[in-house]
């Protein structure tokens, strides 16, 4: 009962070397449950909250707002009230004297993305974890595998989890063919075959959800379950101003206000996020890919394919997760679902709910899969 638990700077994504403390959500002396959010931290890409790994009292805050710490650096300490102050000080001293920040050149960067040729297209993917029933993460329109930055590692705790860049996205080939949902679903099925995954739990966000649904229809043997996050394909409505604005934006000032619609808390749209998306949009072939996809999937401001009716007939477990404040695809699509579908609506979160409420989303998916 007298254990002392460190709270350390997390590593969100391959490039994160350090993070900035944005503010404490708990004060010294507060009682903490495992899984509670304790401190808000910001990398150059995204802001998020660090969760407690164990219950206890918050005994020390070792970093103040605006402090920048290397990944793994000590933010604070959790321990029971019964632990003496002297023991905690000794723990902190020992931690700090043993701590060496990982250098940029060190080998221990974790798994790195791979590329694989699938039917003439180069696809980038990142695999984490081993064994278990595998999972495939499918991002949305204009996204890439980094959209799963806060989910990938947690979901891979007891299984192999693949996140890929769809055609036209990230570092995959920019040729999207006819740009239909069917073609995207077939590409993901081909990808699964290429990496030796026969059947997987599919997790799709936004357009990636519709791709997962279509994949389940066309290749049912490849699908064990569906987790659909703020998913396309469950109703006609979509924020066409967002889609059109995203496709058209050529500079920071045009793109930033468009991206604000992605989050309930629009301060999460950091300059780095905007710059990274601009870099993506400026790659040869991306403009064409996005126009082709939006012209096929989102016609006259509506979604072309509504697959909600067929959900029950798929005979697969289906989980639907939505941010209540989603300004891209309305939460009403989740609420209209019936029969055998588990629906989880997270309050005060937007379309990028898997980033805004990563810990909640990870837990819901883990529980759903048992």
């Amino acid at each position: 009962m007298s254990a002392i638990y460190p709270i350390t700077m997390p590593k969100w994504g391959l490039s994160m070397q350090e993070g900035k403390v944005n503010g404490w959500l708990k004060q010294v002396g507060d009682t903490i449950e495992a899984g509670q959010e304790i401190v808000e931290v910001e990398s150059e890409k995204i802001a998020g909250a660090v969760e407690a790994v164990a219950p206890g009292l918050l005994r020390r805050q070792l970093a103040s707002e605006e402090d920048v710490l290397p990944v793994g650096g000590l933010l604070g300490v959790i321990a029971d009230a019964s632990v003496a102050d002297g023991d905690i000080d000794a723990f902190v001293t020992e931690f700090q004297s043993n701590f060496t920040p990982a250098g940029e050149d060190e080998e221990d960067q974790g798994p790195t993305p791979q590329k694989i040729e699938v039917k003439g297209r180069k696809l980038r993917y990142l695999k984490r974890g081993e064994g278990g029933e595998p999972m495939v993460l499918i991002h949305g329109f204009g996204g890439d595998l980094n959209n799963w930055l806060f989910n990938h590692e947690a979901l891979a705790a007891d299984r192999a989890v693949y996140a890929l860049d769809l055609p036209g996205h990230g570092e995959s080939s920019k040729d999207v063919g006819e740009g239909s949902l069917e073609a995207l679903a077939d590409t993901v099925a081909d990808f699964m075959a290429a990496v030796g995954v026969d059947g997987a739990h599919l997790v799709g966000h936004s357009m990636g959800g519709a791709v997962a649904l279509m994949l389940a229809r066309r290749h049912p043997a490849r699908v064990r379950s569906l987790s659909l996050i703020c998913s396309a394909g469950l109703g006609e409505e979509i924020n066409s101003a967002y889609i059109d604005g995203f496709v058209a934006a050529g500079n920071r000032n045009a793109l930033k206000p468009v991206l604000a619609d992605l989050f309930a808390d629009s301060s999460l749209v950091t300059r780095q996020l905007v710059d990274d998306l601009l870099k993506y949009k400026r790659l040869e072939g991306v403009g064409q890919a996005l126009s082709t996809l939006s012209g096929k999937l989102f016609v006259n401001g509506r979604q072309s394919s509504v697959l909600a009716q067929g959900l029950g007939a798929l005979g697969k477990p289906v989980l639907v997760i939505w941010g209540e404040e989603d300004r891209i695809i309305p939460v009403a699509h989740a609420r209209a679902l019936s029969g055998g579908v588990q629906v989880e609506v997270l309050g005060n979160r937007g379309h990028m709910v898997q980033m805004e409420a990563a810990n909640d989303v990870n837990r819901v998916i883990a529980r759903f899969l048992g």
Binding site: S15, E171, G250, R271, D275, K279, R282, L283, E284, G285
Partner: protein
């Protein structure tokens, strides 16, 4: 993680991809092939530091070694551009500008204006610049401010491999004369660069680092110095915002002014001489248009008004250092 290549490789890749895309793109200059046409041609050196190595064999007939006559081949490149080619002429060291300046400032830069908008001159002139190579006073200058002064020229000063590739592709596709300046000391710098072709637009500054205490505008190699300084200042609790204009003409004045309005303090780091420099230009911009936001005087950190020395010790003193930026930042933070 994305692939990493050097600044030099990024420039080579941009040339290669544009030459493959558009047959009108040609490369010309002193030794850009290097040995081409001679018995040892398979050993083509590819320019004085090897930047154009390999292009000669991939694009036969389109990498052209010229006589040592800048006025001749720069003039030829300008003429070819007027006739529909997209030449990339290499001036080797920007210090050789003097012998071909008429072709650049009184010809190429004026055609669009003087022919009523009917003439286009899509020429790129690449050149190395900057101190730090023990190359003495005639091979170490930073002359981007000279070109920036002239209407009709676009001037590009990339500070990293990503920008070098995207800005060079943009330069080649641009229909106006572009001066593309490469800092010698950056050639070995590595960075993440997409394999695909892409462009970085002109007149869009990069915000290299965000901060709320002091704005540091830095150009070319000075961006690295500013980053070193900002990391040091962070430890002292001073949060710097670093802005890299990337192109001096056009200049992204909005991004600079927005930052100065936020921080109220400005340091401009410019490796060139102080008089009529980018430092004085940007300082003037902020003094005129962000005066009400300023909490402290603007500081310009430049080389001295003296030729670049050959002596190692003196050359190191000549180049603006991170230590000078740190000292300036601390004095601004303590001002009043």
């Amino acid at each position: 993680m994305a692939r990493k290549i050097t600044y030099q490789q990024a420039i080579n890749e941009a040339l290669d991809q544009e030459m493959s895309r558009d047959q009108n793109v040609i490369v010309m200059g002193e030794d850009v092939a290097g040995g081409a046409g001679s018995p040892g041609e398979q050993d083509a050196w590819g320019g004085v530091l090897g930047v154009t190595r390999g292009l000669y064999h991939k694009h036969p007939g389109r990498v052209i070694d010229t006589p040592i006559s800048e006025s001749g081949y720069v003039g030829a490149a300008v003429g070819a551009a007027c006739c529909g080619m997209r030449p990339v002429a290499e001036l080797m060291f920007v210090d050789f500008l003097g012998v071909c300046f008429d072709q650049i400032f009184n010809q190429a830069a004026k055609f669009r204006y003087m022919f009523g908008g009917k003439a286009e001159t899509p020429v790129v002139i690449r050149a190395m610049y900057g101190a730090g190579f023990r190359a003495a006073a005639q091979h170490s200058q930073c002359l981007y401010n000279v070109f920036t002064h002239i209407p009709g020229l676009k001037v590009v000063v990339p500070s990293n491999p990503y920008d070098a590739k995207g800005l060079l592709i943009q330069s080649i596709r641009d229909n106006d004369p572009v001066i593309f300046l490469e800092h010698k000391a950056l050639y070995t710098m590595e960075g993440e660069v997409p394999e695909e072709s892409y462009t970085v637009p002109f007149g869009e500054a990069a915000v290299v680092r965000e901060g709320h205490d002091i704005t540091i505008v830095a150009l070319g190699r000075m961006v690295q110095k500013a980053q070193e300084a900002a990391a040091e200042l962070q430890k002292a609790g001073i949060h710097c915002e670093i802005i890299d204009p990337r192109t001096t003409s056009p200049l992204d004045t909005d991004t600079i002014l927005e930052s100065v309005e936020k921080t109220g303090r400005l340091i401009v780091v410019d490796e060139s001489h102080p008089r009529c420099s980018m430092a004085s230009d940007i300082a003037g911009l902020a003094a005129e248009r962000a005066f009400a936001s300023l909490k402290a005087p603007i500081r310009q950190i430049t080389g001295p008004h003296a030729p670049v020395p050959f002596s190692d010790a003196l050359e190191e003193l000549y180049i603006p250092s991170a230590a000078k930026i740190v000292a300036a930042a601390k004095s601004l933070k303590e001002y009043r």
